[in-house]
Amino acid sequence: MNRETLLQVQQAERQRVALLKDRILCCTVAGCLAGGAGAVRDALEGEVAQRGRTAQIEVCGTGCLGLCSEGPLVRSSAGDAIYTNVTSADVSAIVDGNRVPTIGPGHPFFAGQRRIILANSGQTDPERIADYIGTGGYRSLLRAVTEMTPEQIIAEVRRSGLRGRGGAGYSTGLKWELVARQPSKVKYVVCNADEGDPGAFMNRAVLEGDPHRVLEGMAIAGRAVGASQGYVYVRGESPLAVARLRTALEQARRQELLGDRIFESSFNFRIDLRIGAGAYVCGEETALLASIEGKRGQPVARPPYPPERGLWTQPTLINNVETFANIRTIVEKGGDWFASIGSPTSPGTKVFALAGRIARAGLVEVPIGTPLATIIHDLGGGVPAGYEFKAAQTGGPAGGCIPATHLDLPMDYDSLQSIGAIMGSGGLIVMDTSSCMVDIARFFMEFCRDESCGKCIPCRAGTVQMHDILARITRGEGVNADFGMLEELSGLLRAASLCGLGIAAPNPVLSTLRHFRPEYEAHVREHRCPAGHCHMSVLSEVTA
């Protein structure tokens, strides 16, 4: 494909959509599918066909519309309305355009959002490359290949101030520069799509809803750092993301947007899929590389870091799905534009997977630095009636809990770190007075214990010991010495573990100890769970 054909496809697609009377988009990703969205789409297609209106009304599947707790969701482009809790019985009214209740774009859940990464999610069909091109897709790659030097691309990414969205928040531009500077002829670009935090589904939603955006970002990265081979390492437990990626790769190859001589230039870039097999530790970059090489996914000591010595010992750029998803827009609108969004030290937006004890759960994309209270109360509608907000957990098993006293905290990398939590990849689980914080700490420690790869002893043995102590406390069998022991073990894991899994495993314990110590004390000293969640064997023996 060359410039002219790309522009033709874009033009033709825009005209095609403009001629449609209505475009009915059914969310067909994980959450809504579990709620029966597949049957809804089939019923809608049947209804439109039966009325003989397929020329005027298009029904298609689309990416995450966001408001997952009200799913299945259907969006009608004609009225810019979103129908919630749709069943097959509603299809006739939807085709007529008069099904109630509906919510519009002014609904508080949507009004507070700013969508860059999720711009196409819920607007286009992720299985059609023409849809993506219609939104201006692959124009940034065209620009990067035909109008920009690798140095200019990197300068633009540096100017944007984009920080890695996988959790650590390292400057993306700096990382690209590091890889670009390596003299090696063979380099790799790897997309870390091994999103394994329980309660986090942001990356998966991007891959399921807009896979081409990620592929385009990777190809631009390949051009910038001088790589001609890319890999997407995707979580094996997300079969739909795998399927959508396969389709997207096949289409991009066929349209010659990936492969040899892209846009008739000398730039070659191929992308292959690697499917994970269910090991959380593979989200760690050196473990991920080992897994791509067909080995056990065990981390190795750094340095050297992958930009110097990565996949098959060659310089390797590893970025998260969401990081790559931002690139197209940065090239399109410029680094300065991007830097004007969000907070000065962390520009751009962040997608959060809002879930747990909250009225409206789903995916939200907000400028970085948005206060937690805005996300929970304005967008999420607060905790269910009759309960009180207690804590928000960010960053999954490596993260921490934010108590109610910090509700006004701006959600950016540095503010979160200052109170013992982390941005992480974007999981945001809300807990209310019915949740026991000691048990949540135990839950995450159990997860880390199960997922520890076993290579280094502090993590392998430390997570077992810490879990045992926490389990004992939740059974009402804790003793005063447990506090000191938990703190000592936490220090040991942090100081001596080989990789991030072990180093971060104590975080949920330390953050709950810091903000909710009285709850631990009630368990240990009074054999009482203030949330009424834990079953206290000691107490039940006494009262029996």
């Binding site: 707790s69 394994g196 329980p198 309660g199 589904f201 080995k295 996914g297 747990g356 759960a361 689980i429």
Partner: protein, 155 residues
């Protein structure tokens, strides 16, 4: 798993050929083998090791490292309880106990990505969302009864 044995062998051979019998494609090959056979038997692993020219110890070592690989045939009826954080906060641990006591095979998912509709349980491929204990109990009972019902009866 519907293909006859000879056909499965051929399909696995094709998968290996696609990857040029490269040792670094081991995980891809294991995925393909499990998809065809339902699980990875020792003889199958030995065969893969021979074809990819890898030590059998390496193949077993890699296969057992990853949770998704199974070494015994999958159970006939499974209830998969999502124990992601959102589902856990909404009481999924109690649902797992119900499955344990029901005689169904319990599987655990670490997060199915349906956090907005938590807690999630998938019984034989059919998803229950915002699952209550009563709902799950009745679902597990129905299936058990229909399984034991005489042929031809509804269910």
């Amino acid at each position: 798993m519907t293909e006859p044995a000879g056909e499965r062998e051929k399909l696995l051979e094709n998968a290996m050929m696609r990857h040029h019998y490269a040792g670094d494609a081991l995980i891809e090959i294991l995925h393909a083998a499990q998809q065809l056979h339902g699980y990875l038997s020792l003889s199958l692993l030995r065969e893969i090791a021979r074809k990819l020219r890898l030590p059998p110890s390496k193949v077993l070592g890699v296969a057992t490292f990853y949770h998704l690989f199974r070494f015994a045939p999958p159970a006939e009826h499974t209830a998969c309880v999502c124990l992601g954080t959102a589902c856990y906060v909404e009481g999924a641990a109690g649902l797992a106990n119900i499955v344990r006591e029901s005689g169904w095979t319990l599987e655990v998912d670490r997060c199915a990505g349906a956090c907005g509709l938590a807690p999630l349980v998938v019984c034989d491929g059919m998803a229950l969302t915002r699952t209550t204990s009563a709902q799950l109990e009745s679902r597990l009972r129905d299936k058990y009864e229909s399984r034991n019902a005489p042929p031809g009866s509804a269910g």
